[in-house]
Amino acid sequence: MHRVSKLSFPSRPALLLLAPLAIALLAACTPDNNQSTFGTAGPIARDQADLFIFIFWIAAVVFVLVEGAVIYIAIRYRRRSDSDKLPYQTHGNNKLEITWTIIPILILAAVAVPTLTGIWEQQNGVPQDQGEVLNVEAIGHQWWFEFRYPGQEVVTANELRIPVGRPVALKLTSQDVIHSFWVPKIAGKVDMVPLNDNFMWILGDEVGTFYGQCAEFCGLAHAMMRFRVVVQSEEDFQAWIDGMHTAADPPVAGSREAAGQTLFAQNCASCHTVDSTAPGSYAREINSQEARWNGWISDIENAAIVSAPNLTNFGTRSTLGAGLRDLNQQSLEEWIIDPSSIKIGTRMQKHAAMYNTPDGTANLSSSEISDIATYLLSLKPGSGAAGVVIEQSEGDVDGAALFATNCSACHSTGADKIVGPGMAGIGDIAGSRVAGLDADQYLEQSLRDPGAFIVDGYPPVMPGWSQLSDESIDTLVTYLKTLK
Amino acid sequence: MTQAATTGYQDPIENTSTGLSSRKLMMWAFLASDVMFFGTFIATYLVYRGKSLVGPYPSEILDIPVTSVSTFVLLMSSLAMVLALHYLKNGEKNKATLWILAVVVLGTVFMGFQVVEFRLFAQEGLTPRTNLFGTTFFILTGIHGAHVTIGVIWMAFLAYGSHKGTLRSDNSMDLEIAGLYWHFVDIVWIVIFTVIYLISAADGPPPGAETILH
């Protein structure tokens, strides 16, 4: 009663279907790709890849059997002529039903066993028998990664350095939206969720630099939130840690670096810390970052400060903008002129005053930008011994210089408001602000514990400056009182 | 039983394959859906118990005796509902109308309690924007209040219908279905009352939270 389709079984489309599958198998042999999950460099990624391959082969067998059956049956039992003959109208077969219920259960049990052991090995805390554990806190920001080493009191960004062969315990958090920490060659991802501290452990067993990338959609520049994990020998790692406690040599007066330093202090230092080398600076940086976050979140539209990467020893990094470009003078200048041309939506450009121009690019001359870049690239561990507090030597402490490096990013010496109030006339007001405190006491208190008295209308974002020596604070107070 | 199904659209609603009125079955299915709806809100409330960053906390603001009274009022409305249906089916029109009106009145009184409670809480500094307790409390009880309000309006129409004689013993299914809804909303309140007013009445600030009133 119907015309039979003239089509014999379409073999050409079937062959074409196989092409991408064949390419898939070939492509699996690209472990050298930067984020290949097969080119593993650590036991966790390796276990995950091994389990994948185990499941893959089981799936491959099922795939061949089922797809083979589909194709075989479709060809074998296709209607060959106009015959409308009725096949036997069977209703089914209970034995078969039981068989093909039980066999998948057995197969899945075979998958479940290594799955469960894998879960408990990877997610149930750091193994204590594989060497001294390094603790790191990784914090996701829109759109960069902050890494803190609480045991070593080191803060860095976008390049996580870990010693080879030692387990690293990561505490993962986020302040803004959900991000995900993923270094495919070292370990599968774990999300960084605000209010939910997550823990994972990783171990790199191969020296090298490995690519990482945020894997949870986190807004505009999600694609641009990348980072690197640098697995180093124990010695190199220790040297790096020591370096992170060694201040860069102060620039020679009159040099481009010196000019860059001043420009940096004026334009960048309210958000970017560059001197987290001294004892106590770790706690201060954590406070500062918290303060920057509070400053931003309390007034997102007009905030003048925002959480930002710590740039201590920036010159030792290999990449720029969360793994987006190789770091060099040229790329850094491009970044400073117009960060969004490299990483769209970066908050730096929206909030830093220097970008408050019609086209949004930096309102600095190209030589000034070059100076800043030169200065930043010069930030490398200096010749001083590790842990030495680098501050201007006692005696020639200059209040104006202290103010310029420490305060000027947020406070003007006039009446203008930057982040905090202008300092003009502070000497006159300070004495009457809090009953029982004279001007000196009030200013000193405000420097050591700024949260104690916040001027109405300003966010409580100022970090404490108790890392300064007593003399420096005295000098600063004296200087502040001279401002009219 | 299957008679109507073969006669086109004569009355396929009441004479059905299962023997259940289609409208009644519909209401049951809707209530199942509503269970998931309320269930999710209640689960949210439970997840956020004790997670408020600032006060007022439940222990500082909930007035259990007053809400027990309003709960009792709502329970009594269910009783009135049962009586209304009974008299309607018996053809006692005036008694039926009276008891449906009683449902309306009791439901309205319950809503009055809720309005007063919301206003008192607002005066004491608890709004949906105060803390997580405020957020979850107002939205959960508010959604329940919306259900009660819809029920009250529905019952008012039915009372009018009973009075006018359009709702009679032969179409008492109208009232029965409304009754299913009403009893459901009542039961949901029992759960909400238990979860909010009884279980978490003593909830204070979470450990470490500052007790700053906004």
């Binding site: 999950t37 039903e97 939910n196 959609f217 | 004569q10």
Partner: protein
Amino acid sequence: MTTKSLTFPRLFPRPKADTGIWSWIGTVDHKRIGTLYGITAFIWFIVGGIEALLLRVQLARPENDFLDPEAFNQLFTMHGTTMVFLVVMPLSAAFFNWLIPLQIGARDVAFPRLNAFSFWVFLLGSLLLNVSWITGDAPNGGWFGYAPNSSTTFNPGIGMTYWVVGLNILGVASIAAGLNFIVTILNMRAPGMTMFKLPIFTWMTLITSVLIVLAMPVLAVAGIQLLSDRVYGTYFFDSLGGGDPVLWQNIFWLFGHPEVYILILPAMGIVSEVLPTFARKPLFGYPFVVFAGAAIAFMGWFVWAHHMFTVGLGPAANSAFAISTMLIAVPTGVKIFNWLGTLWRGNIRLNTPMLFSISFIAMFTIGGLSGVMHASPPTDAQQQDTYFVVAHFHYVLVGGALLGIFSGIYFWWPKFTGWFLNEKLGLTNWALMLIGFNFTFGPMHWLGMDGMPRRIYTYAEDMGWETSNLFSTIGSMLLGLGILVFIINVFYSKMNKKMASADPWDGRTLEWSVPSPPPPHDFDEIPQVKYRDDFWFKKHPETIAQYYHDEHDDQDQAVPSGAQFDGDDEAVAVPAVAENKSNGHGHGGIHLPDMSYYPFVLSVGITIFGAGFLTNTYVIAAGVPFFLWGLLGWSMEPVNDPE
């Protein structure tokens, strides 16, 4: 009815037209509503497809600047939202509407006006969602809307408010339709059609409807909470106020995983009708296929956290959800094996609908197998949020749901319209879609394993991803071409009509017993059902013994006899259908429900009300009169006006 009832003053006369715009706005005919669903959903399918093609063009090469990231984010958000809520669900609804009454021997659904209401709410809700393109601020937080990226703090534009309002309105439509089909299937079956004689598509519709009715309210709550956060500043998902972003994920996926089965089960139902028809054999293991469907739907509620293996729920939760997720592969496998059993020793006719259905089995199997790979949290840690997952769910939703739906379109088209779709164009359509589909999504498997995350608008040149991405983009063009061929086919076939008989495929279920296209009243006479696949066995009585002889082995399946009818035999002696000649509309004197404009009015009210959350309270207030007009008018309007 002769007794008096409350009446509501009419602003317009009750619509009666058989043609023209009012015949559509006022229609309560399940077939017309099905057509409306189908056309609307297909238009959105083209929109969603264009969105996808734009995404693919952007990703064709590294560091591409065809789209800016904001546009990219909006496009992938709307692509996902559109395909799930505006395409696959309503296309399934189109089949539900067209087929359920026909398959169970009823003349309409239980609540025809509610049915119309579902459609209008769906249409207006989908329009509202897409109006966001015109206002220039389309949703950009992903179809999953993860908190707190969807909060006003991090997403201050109005796009995500459109999203949440749109989804809530669509939820109303889905729940109303779901309730309607549950009641229709349970209550309006033809005499003798016991539950285990239901056509399998009807079974899957019932299961899907139950899932819709239970899962959509969960989404509604998430939507209300997010809307309240965005519009009124509450703290449900605002981490700054202590709101937990993980709660959003739990609620969303508690809805989201059943939703996956809402999308796939109707297609499984379609395939389970097409395979037996063209293999000319009954569905193998009917009760097992039914139970497998029910088991999938039930277990679907206990697997949601497999979307959250990397969220940090801890090893115990991850282990539990890994096992429950793996178990759900078992009933899925049962279905696949039963389909193969259906084909086995059949007399298989490889025409377009059949090839789509067979491809469904082949492609869905791939999607299922890759699903098992990320059912295991350790491997999922590498696959979650990568293109591997994108590949997986497109194999399930395109290779599965969409191929199944296309199979259904080709299969039932002659029933819907009275003419066939062209077979040669159909085969071209099938081949292009299947090849294009595999070229598009096949390479994504290894892109994922090669470390390419989802939802990135571009990638660096040194990642080694460009070849696969280019491949994928070319494949997507082929896939698009396949869809284009389908559209051409529709118009070509319409102009060169090859008419279809009532039963062109030697079909098995009741819809093939009525003319193509069916008359407005569907059945001149309500059929008496005796067997599963009743229509088939009445055409081929010599095969009854084969089926029911075997069946005798099953303890639960006795050979049906006349006395097996639902009720007593007496009830079967039905009054003549042509009893009521007074209805001026003909239809053999069969009394159909009258048309009504109130469902449309009510849906307008709901949409304006929803739009108010996007604008201001005056607009909310403006929706109320329509709402009350529609609701009151409807509630006091009898199904049929007294003559």
